[in-house]
């Protein structure tokens, strides 16, 4: 097994076209242990990138290297150390969680006794011990999601790719999962794709924003937040003013108060005399980045 420090995923000029439509264009990325938060609007190319990294689909052009080995030519080099949780995944409804995980362990190449121990640990980890013998068909969406998380961790992956992993989880489970990701990231590479910016904010050590198949931003969260300093403002407005303000500024949030509406907006210049600068968050960064690429304000 490779030592955590030597783990590297690299993509070089990665492109993917579906029937002539470019989903990803000349994508270059280098990842080392830690959590990469992958952000981007719908159709930006996130899922395509993750499917290629997960060896499900092959690029039209470019290479993907895992510790120097080309996984486009030799996907087996990665598969035994890969954990993948797709966004839309299902289960066999007539199998129990225990049986489903035994099945997944076998095809991931995890051996008998080791698999049993690992499944037992993971059932505890995802809080499904009591329901482990029940058919999966009777599980709630959140419980199924937890089964998905467990299967992704079965082979103790060195590269963990998770697509919208906290969808359907209740707040407590979401916090548990975020903590779990943080714990895991010390010794492996985690790619977390999500629309929930707060998930990225609380876990990611690196952030990449993809737009129209291009990598637009790649930086550490603190760098991105620093760049936005002095560009996020809050002020009170009336409900009647709100539609016009939304047309005029990049409004990243509104909050109803007794004396009107508290408006939060991204703008290089002070939007109005009463606006006060506030500490930026990743949602501001994300909206500003995507808006810039679309010709919006900023």
């Amino acid at each position: 097994m490779d030592s955590p420090n030597s783990l590297v995923v690299e993509t070089h000029n990665l492109s993917k076209a579906y029937k002539g439509v470019q989903a990803l264009v000349d994508f270059n990325l280098k990842l080392t242990p830690g959590i990469l938060g992958l952000l981007g609007p719908n159709g930006a190319g996130k899922s395509t990138l993750m499917r290629m990294l997960a060896t499900i689909t092959t690029p039209t052009e470019g290479t993907i290297l895992w510790n120097g080995r080309d996984v486009v030519k030799d996907p087996e080099a990665l598969r035994s150390v890969l954990g993948y949780l797709p966004q839309d995944f299902g289960v066999y409804p007539n199998l129990s969680a225990q049986e489903f995980l035994e099945y997944m362990a076998a095809i991931k190449g995890v051996s008998g006794e080791k698999a049993r121990r690992k499944i037992s640990d993971l059932l505890d980890l995802v809080n499904l011990r009591d329901a482990a013998r029940r058919p999966l068909g009777g599980y709630s969406g959140g419980m199924r999601q937890r089964v998905g998380i467990a299967q992704a961790l079965l082979n103790d992956p060195q590269l963990l790719i998770v697509d919208e992993p906290t969808v359907g989880l209740d707040p407590e489970e979401r916090v548990r999962f975020r903590n779990l990701l943080s714990d895991l990231s010390g010794e492996r590479i985690v790619i977390l794709s999500t629309h929930i910016v707060s998930d990225v904010e609380s876990t990611a050590t690196d952030i990449a924003i993809i737009h129209k198949g291009h990598l637009k931003v790649r930086a550490r969260p603190e760098q991105l937040l620093k760049q936005m300093e002095g560009s996020v403002w809050e002020w009170m407005a009336t409900s009647e003013e709100l539609p016009a303000l939304k047309q005029q500024f990049l409004v990243s949030g509104t909050l109803r108060r007794m004396d009107g509406v508290e408006v939060r907006a991204v703008s290089e210049a002070r939007p109005c005399p009463e606006a006060q600068p506030v500490t930026p968050n990743l949602e501001d960064v994300y909206l500003a980045t995507v808006a810039q690429r679309q010709g919006g304000p900023l």
């Binding site: 579906y18 930006a44 499900i56 289960v91 066999y92 007539n94 095809i107 190449g109 047309q247 919006g296």
Partner: protein, 531 residues
């Protein structure tokens, strides 16, 4: 060792997933019933004289273990040869449908190991059914036997013929699933004709391939049975074997002793070659199996809404995207729906039925209709119209189950009047589309003044989509209709079996049946809507 363990777990999980379904219990019940039909003599094996004179006496063997085992295997192979395929051919599609496939695609399991695992699972499912029929045969020997139970003679036909045959069927089911365009109605229809050809070739004396001649063992057993009967009745010409249900009780039989086929390693090996062929086909299909790659699979995805980006397609630039202002919303009612809400739904259902066909599909439909118009009426009736009533199989098979298949049922069933408006509109759309597909038939019947033919045409236009809708609603899938209709089409419109041919003459019975089916569909849909 590791590969064996992977295969074991692949097959085990797949088997449990299927065996715990309600549908599997129904299948078991159907097979047990088939076993009862065999053991109580409803299904009967006999030999006929070479002249095929229906008045001549027939021949049967003593009810010993060999005869009963052979008879049961022939029934098993004939039925499981067809229905077994449709029963098990869903294992890869299930992995696509559930999304488990995209997780499997990221594991080290090879294409070949995955497909072999599915093959073993299919084989085990069918073996359970064979085991039940073997038990039925043993019961028959104990209760009806004219000789003592001989387990070897009883079970050898199962071990040497039935098992390799189902191994081949299990493999074909997997192979068909590895080709995206063979997964639906085209594959189901293709397999039906393949099965039919094999049965016909087997009865005619087997195929002319070296070693691989007779997967169902029909010709193998017939040769031995005819030899046994000819030895018992040396002056009589015995040439044909019959396998029939509901043979009259007063039928006269000449009974002979048949100790069973003289099994040799060569015969057994030759039959098991079919299983080896199955394995070979599996390994070959691993070459083109796309391993759940959406770019190669052509996986069917829900149509993206106009405002959403398509899968793998960059999002449409939203000018000033963050500056969201509510547009002036107008009611989503088309002009047609404003005139009459039912017409609006009917138009939408019709568009849904006809959309998505490629140009060549329409070209063949048009070609069939032109051929009907330009050939004599007798040719059109005998050959061309039956094919016009088969060609749109894939369109009919979507009726009644499209909502489940595309997971839109929660939206459709919660819309206004799903039973009293949407379902009748879907039915009428099917009828109109069917009339369109075979329009030339109506023209030639009318122009020739052949009113009975026209009545049959009307019967077909109404009965086929009604049957499709009803079976689609009942089963929430397309396969039941595809299998039932293919068999019905073969026996009825193609073979012109009286009573089964809904395209000839008096269509009253089929119109009544259609009305009944439509009411039952409405009742069943109203239950689905409430649930």
């Amino acid at each position: 060792m590791k590969t064996l363990r992977v295969l074991y777990h692949l097959a085990r999980a797949d088997f449990f997933e299927r065996a715990r379904r309600y549908r599997f219990l129904l299948t078991l019940a159907a097979v047990i019933y088939l076993g009862v039909l065999v053991s109580n003599g409803t299904w009967f094996l006999y030999l006929m004289p070479g002249d095929l004179n229906p008045l001549s006496p027939r021949y049967r063997g003593e009810f010993n273990s060999a005869w009963i085992g052979t008879m049961t295997v022939l029934v098993t192979n004939t039925f499981l040869g067809l229905f077994g395929f449709y029963l098990v051919s869903d294992c890869i599609q299930r992995d696509i449908r559930t999304g488990v496939g995209q997780i499997i695609a990221t594991t080290p399991v090879s294409r070949a190991a995955y497909l072999i695992g599915k093959w073993i699972s299919n084989f085990v499912v069918l073996s359970v059914l064979v085991l039940i029929l073997a038990a039925a045969a043993a019961i028959m020997v104990l209760f009806q036997s004219e000789a003592a139970l001989d387990l070897g003679a009883l079970l050898m036909p199962f071990l040497a013929v039935a098992l390799p045959n189902i191994a081949l069927i299990a493999a074909l089911a997997v192979v068909f699933e590895t080709v995206p365009w063979l997964r639906g109605a085209v594959g189901n229809a293709g397999y039906f004709f393949l099965w039919l050809s094999v049965v016909i070739f087997s009865f005619l004396g087997g195929m002319a391939l070296p070693f691989l001649k007779d997967p169902m063992g029909i010709n193998l057993f017939r040769t031995s049975l005819v030899a046994g009967a000819s030895a018992a009745f040396p002056n009589e010409t015995i040439g044909w074997m019959g396998l029939q249900s509901g043979i009259p009780r007063d039928t006269q039989f000449k009974v002979f002793n048949w100790p069973g086929l003289a099994w040799t390693p060569g015969i057994v090996g030759e039959q098991w070659l079919w299983a080896a062929l199955g394995l070979g086909l599996i390994l070959l299909s691993a070459v083109w199996f796309a391993r759940f790659d959406p770019a190669r699979e052509g996986l069917r995805r829900p149509r993206a809404k106009p405002e959403e980006a398509k899968e793998g397609e960059p999002a449409e630039p939203r000018k000033k995207a963050p500056r969201i202002a509510l547009p002036n919303l107008s009611p989503l009612v088309s002009k047609l729906a404003q005139v009459n809400p039912f017409l609006g739904v009917l138009f939408a259902e019709l568009r849904m039925l006809l959309n998505g066909r490629r140009w060549w599909w329409w070209a063949i439909t048009a070609g069939l209709n032109i051929a009907i118009l330009s050939n004599p009426l007798s040719v059109a009736k005998q050959y061309l119209l039956p094919f016009a009533w088969l060609w749109p199989l894939a369109i009919w098979s979507e009726m009644g189950n499209r909502e489940r298949k595309n997971n839109t049922y929660q939206m459709v069933f919660s819309s206004a009047r799903p039973v009293l408006r949407q379902l009748p509109a879907a039915w009428l759309a099917g009828v109109l589309a069917t009339a369109l597909f075979g329009i030339a038939g109506a023209v030639v019947f009318l122009s020739n003044g052949a009113l009975p033919g026209l009545a049959g045409w009307v019967g077909a236009v109404i009965f086929i989509p009604t049957l499709a809708l009803a079976l689609g609603v009942f089963s929430s899938g397309s396969r039941v209709f595809e299998v039932v209709y293919l068999i019905w089409w073969y026996i009825g419109p193609l073979q012109k079996t009286p009573g089964m041919d809904f395209t000839t003459g008096a269509p009253q019975v089929y119109l009544l049946a259609a009305a009944g089916l439509l009411l039952l569909s409405a009742y069943w849909r109203s239950r689905q809507v409430r649930v």
